[in-house]
Amino acid sequence: MLAIGLAVAMVLFAARLFYIQIIRHDFYVQQADSEQIKRFVLHAKRGEIYTYDNGKPSILVMNETVYTVWADPTQVSDKQKVVDTINRIAGGNTRKDFSQYLDTKGSRYQVLATKVTRKQAEMLKKENLAGIGFDAVTQRVYPEGQLASQVLGFVNAEGNGVYGFEQANNKELTGTNGLLKTVTDVRSVPLTIGAKNINTPAKNGKDYVLSIDRYIQARVEKALSDAIIRSGATNASAIVMDPSTGQVMAMANVPTYDPSELAKVTDTALFNNNVISNPYEPGSDIKTFTIATGIDRGVISPESTYNNTDSIRVDDITITNASKGHTGDITMQTALNWSLNTGMVTVAQKLGGGGSINRTSRDIMYDYFYNRFRMGQRSGIELSNEAGGTIIAPTQAQGNAVRYSNMSFGQGMDVTMLQVASGFSSIVNGGIYRPPTILSGVMEDGVFKPAALKQQFPGVISERASATVREMVHEAHYATYKPHNTPDGYFIGGKTGTSQTIENGKYVNDQTIGTYLGFGGEVNKIPRYVIMVEISGKGKAMGGGTDAKPIFNDISDWMINYLKLQPAQ
């Protein structure tokens, strides 16, 4: 009987087990999984950003874990102790009058302090304050403060890059989150048992090395700030490039902002990088481009002469010189030195073979300005919000002789400083257009890996024409507004620009933008740097020679020492 009883019991157990394990298998597996298996997101670390200081990467943007301290007012038992402790340990990070939030009714989450460091958070945790919690937050850290902030951009509350390099390279900087799906115990400790565990590691964002040199960047920002104080202007911008590589060594705008104190920014225009985002009429800087075009086409030389009467007629308009009195048969070098509009219009006429700016001369100018020097189009630099600008083609109705006569001295076209500096680099470096870049490479496991070179475009102008223009611009640099402190033995060149601004569709004479475009280096060598400077202000008449050139000289003189350039004996 016992055996039969046991057998019956066994059969019942077996039947029940069959029901549970076979028929209801999926249900119980699902229930078990939901209780035992947990999913953890493995957060990818946002890539950090470095500068490249004389061949050595230095950190510029880092990540740091900070904590938000919050309170559940319903659980706080000793309010005074909480207030005293937080004030003692994290007094500088608290919300204003944070004690009032401990009395909030109907809320279980009140933020008391933000951006509390890990050390502070650990000290607070040791106090075992009832009702106090901590949220870990990753934030960007800027050890250099506001340095290059408009180049960098920033990261918003959602973790996305906004403006600058952060926005343009957001995907690569962000990386890809990983996933840990695993059986856990009651304390959520992952256990290795279980065949369904998934561990996909996070792929961290790329660590980029910019071509910005932080020492040059800091010096440029200081030069701009000093100039604003000196001149009374409100805005100044500058770019420093290596003409042999197209790499941007510094790019700055003043006023600027501190990306770690975004809450203090009241004018969002400060986020803009005017060097790349603000097309303007470049003015007389472009005369170097017109001269380069004329020399490369063989229609002029530095010694070519023309009869200057301080005015020249193009169709139904008369173009005059700003600097008057250099009349008679003068050379193109003199025209460049004194920035004479009539000389540039003459070059444009000669491109067409004679006395007018015909379709041939316009086609040639467009080919050089747009196709070769690549003005009026985006360069593809690795920064967000780059503007294209405008160069009117001769095929358009507005691309007439008057337009192109104005373009020969930098009016009637909208370009960015980056485009002008890049095109000028190709003029002085032997005639190779190198697309501008802000990138030097990446850091991989702490080792610098240089970025691949961008495609180059040789033959923009001939090497011979490039050498000739370098000499002409060098002479122009010393012809007017002579620099006083630049040491001898170096090869410096530059051209002033004073651009009228347009208000309500009309040129305004008492509000001008001062610019200076130049290069520097050793004698008989390709220049080591190209600098472009712009200074302006609402209602301010800023001059290229009086206001922009001193900034150029300030930066250029410093660059000579920083790059350890060798003076000619």
């Binding site: 016992l2 055996a3 230095s58 050890p143 340095l147 992952p190 256990l191 290795t192």
Partner: protein, 116 residues
């Protein structure tokens, strides 16, 4: 002195077994019934289950060790990062410019260049 046989041996010689073959077979007097068999099997299953659980618990204990080590690595990594941030802040240009060492520096008055 007399001996009592407690085991029973059945001679196989009677069955005409060949040379060099065992001719004695042991037959236990103890007989196991179905209940005993069932209990023994249940016991064996229990023992095997206990062995499995022992091993599983031992594996899990390694998980806790690994988890503790991971926590320590994370803490050390955080501390390292804090130090890196502090280092970067101390090495910032403005910080260096304002240092007492930099303030005591003087500009060179006579610079000579040599060809490399």
């Amino acid at each position: 002195m007399s001996y009592t046989r407690t085991a029973q041996f059945n001679s196989r010689r009677a069955n005409n077994w060949g040379r060099n073959q065992n001719t004695v077979v042991f037959a236990s007097a103890v007989k196991l019934g179905p209940v005993t068999h069932t209990v023994l099997i249940a016991l064996m299953i229990t023992v095997l289950g206990l062995i499995y659980l022992t091993q599983a618990v031992r594996t899990s204990s390694y998980d806790y060790t690994a988890s503790d080590i991971q926590d320590k690595i994370a803490t050390l990594s955080d501390e390292k990062k804090d130090l890196e941030v502090d280092n970067a802040r101390l090495m910032a240009i403005k910080e260096v410019q304002n240092s007492s060492v930099a303030k005591n520096m003087t500009a060179p008055t006579d610079v000579k260049y040599v060809s490399q």
